[in-house]
Amino acid sequence: MGRRDGIVALFFLLLGGYVLQAGWALDVGTLQKPGPGFQPFSLGLLFIILAVGYLVLALRDRSTTGSPWPLKLWTRPLMASAGILFYWSCLPWFGFPATTFIFLLYWMWILERESWRRIVLVSVSATAGLYVVFTLVLRIRLPMGTLF
């Protein structure tokens, strides 16, 4: 535990405060008839108690810990997130086949730096394979977009 844990503890303390306030606003009710805010209010209290305990333990530990992930380690997960964001936003418009193909191209070219032959082969075969599995075998209705 160390300084990083102190920051995390503060985050949970703030979250606890918010949940506590939200529970109160929802109507905690009474012990005889608990309201919709009863559980959130109780959880907000628990958050605060645990966060304070975590903060105390973090302050007792004087060790300084480095960043859990230097910038270079962030890069690939962030790039993958961008790919998933693209998939979410374009799926209804471009449809499943086009969006999936572009996603695979992006992932294997930008993230994985694979050879062109492998990129094209995998993108085409995986898109076709997933289409067959989801729509024909499992009969899931997938958007086909405005291009098809």
Binding site: L31, Q32, P36, L43, F47, L50, Y54, F96
Partner: protein, 497 residues
């Protein structure tokens, strides 16, 4: 005797061609998932949850998912032994001696004893499940809201204390999961909670989306940080049937591992990983030559591999009889049952005896299928390790994305999955275990409902929990567990100082 008769009826259902086929599919998928590093049984079951809608029959769906779960325990040993990378978490201990055995030219013996030990322990666990499940269900019929509150509280606490990392972090994850379970409509008053006028949140967070984000996508993000490479010891494993000498050395380890795994698997939070760790520690302790451990001791493979399969079978007991999932994989199966309109718990054996006894019978068949798959086909599974992760990862992401999309036919679920994927990734980097969060999310509504009902019944008095013998006993166990954990933690701090 009664259990035996019901079991025979279960076999009648489990041996139908469709159920055998789906059991086989589950076993194959589970073995593949266990073999391939980076994709665990929990993530795989979550991927297939939306597909259970299309299967139709709850029994068939659960047979397949259960096959994936215990199949992964079989498959996980292959990468541990050949690659020194655990295929899934519960096989991490097998790496220690299994890989050394492979380097010493004894990969076949290691793989063989792992498969046989898994079969013996898995079958023994199912026998235990057969005879314990029915009386435990009858006992659980006496449970009312106070008992369910106390039991779920105990389950969450045990899952927290047995998870990795400091207890306070586990408790924060539990409270977070309980809070996420509040999102949506309050079942009593109909008021929206934490929905902010967003349609997707007004419906409540979907378990499948949460699970795929926290386990599937987060796992991919963690693995993307490094290029997954490893040196495959050999793809030619040679003779896989253990010699008489191998069997003589490992038979008691298999027996001990089976028992340890079974009892640990009964506990919420216990599960296959804890069972295998405990078994390894016991084998090292009782060995005549403990210095052999870490250098290719066959007991170091036989015991843990038996324990993880014993635990996998036993973990179905609290799910089927009490309706309490003990680990994330079982929580997925719990969700699958709910999707099919089947409520796990003491009434399951009465309302859906076909599901109850059919699943138990299918586990006997599944263990045989897995032994057949893993012994002669182990060379084939080893070839699977040549599939580059660069191809596997985007396909897994796509399967997750389409899976969550198909739950409500709403692309917004993909965005929610990504958000929880990032949250899961950040939590892992900060060394938080997300397993207790998922369990708490599943059990949160049950805890809230049983607490509110108990307070209404008692007119607002908490003494109802002490007045009823079963809930009093369970809360006494809760207090005992907290006290024990406090003593252990204090002694650990004193030792450090």
């Amino acid at each position: 005797m009664e259990a035996f008769q019901f079991l025979l009826q279960g076999f009648g259902l489990a041996l139908s061609p469709v159920n055998v086929l789906f059991g086989f599919i589950g076993a194959v998928l589970g073995t593949m998932v266990g073999v391939l590093p980076g994709l665990g049984p929990a993530a795989t079951i979550s991927l297939l949850l939306p597909l259970t809608y299309t299967i139709g029959s709850p029994l068939t769906a659960i047979i397949m998912l259960a096959g994936i779960y215990y199949g992964a325990m079989y498959g996980g040993s292959t990468t541990s032994i050949l690659l020194n990378i655990p295929g899934e978490a519960a096989s991490v201990v097998t790496c220690i001696d299994g890989y050394q055995m492979a380097k010493n030219g004894r990969a076949g013996a290691a793989l063989g004893i792992a498969a046989i030990g898994s079969f013996i322990a898995g079958t023994a666990g199912v026998i235990g499940l057969t005879f314990l499940a029915y009386p435990l269900s009858n006992f659980a019929l006496k449970f009312g809201p106070p008992e369910y509150f106390a039991l779920t509280l105990l389950g969450l606490l045990l899952a927290t204390f047995l998870s990795s990392g400091p207890v306070i972090k586990g408790l924060l994850m539990v409270v977070t999961g309980l809070w996420l379970g509040c999102v949506g409509i309050d079942p009593v008053s109909g008021k929206f909670r934490f929905a902010y006028g967003i349609l997707q949140l007004q419906d409540g967070l979907d378990f499948v989306t949460l699970a795929m984000g926290l386990f599937g996508v987060a796992e991919i993000f963690v693995n993307l940080e490094i290029k997954l490479t490893a040196e495959l010891v050999t793809t030619r494993v040679g003779r896989i049937w253990p010699t008489l000498a191998d069997w003589a050395e490992s038979r008691w380890a298999v027996a001990r591992g089976s028992v340890i795994g079974f009892f640990v698997g009964l506990l919420p939070g216990g599960g296959a990983l804890v069972g295998s760790l405990l078994s390894y520690a016991v084998e090292k302790k009782v060995a005549r030559e403990p210095h052999r451990f870490g250098r290719g001791a066959i007991e170091g493979v036989a015991g843990p591999e038996s324990a993880n399969n014993g635990a996998a079978s036993a973990s179905f007991i609290p799910l089927l009889t009490l309706g309490i999932p003990g680990n994330p994989s079982i929580a997925m199966i719990f969700a699958a049952l709910l999707i099919q309109g089947v409520q796990p718990g003491p009434f399951l054996v009465v309302e859906h005896p076909d599901v109850f006894w059919g699943v138990i019978a299918s586990m006997y068949i599944g263990n045989i299928i897995l032994l057949v798959l893993n012994l002669p086909l182990v060379g084939l599974w080893a070839q699977l390790l040549k599939v580059p992760y660069s191809i596997l990862a985007p396909i897994v992401v796509l399967v997750c994305a389409i899976g969550v999309f198909s739950v409500k036919n709403d692309p917004a679920e993909i965005l929610i999955m990504l958000i929880f994927g990032l949250i899961g990734y950040i939590l892992r980097k900060l060394q938080f275990d997300t397993g207790p969060m998922l369990l708490a999310f599943i059990l949160g509504p049950m805890i809230e409902r049983s607490l509110r009902q108990s307070l209404i019944l008692s007119g607002g008095s908490f003494s109802i929990f002490a007045q009823r013998p079963i809930s009093a006993m369970l809360l006494a166990v809760v207090a005992g567990v907290i006290l024990l954990q406090t003593v252990v933690a204090t002694r650990r701090r004193e030792k450090k100082a």
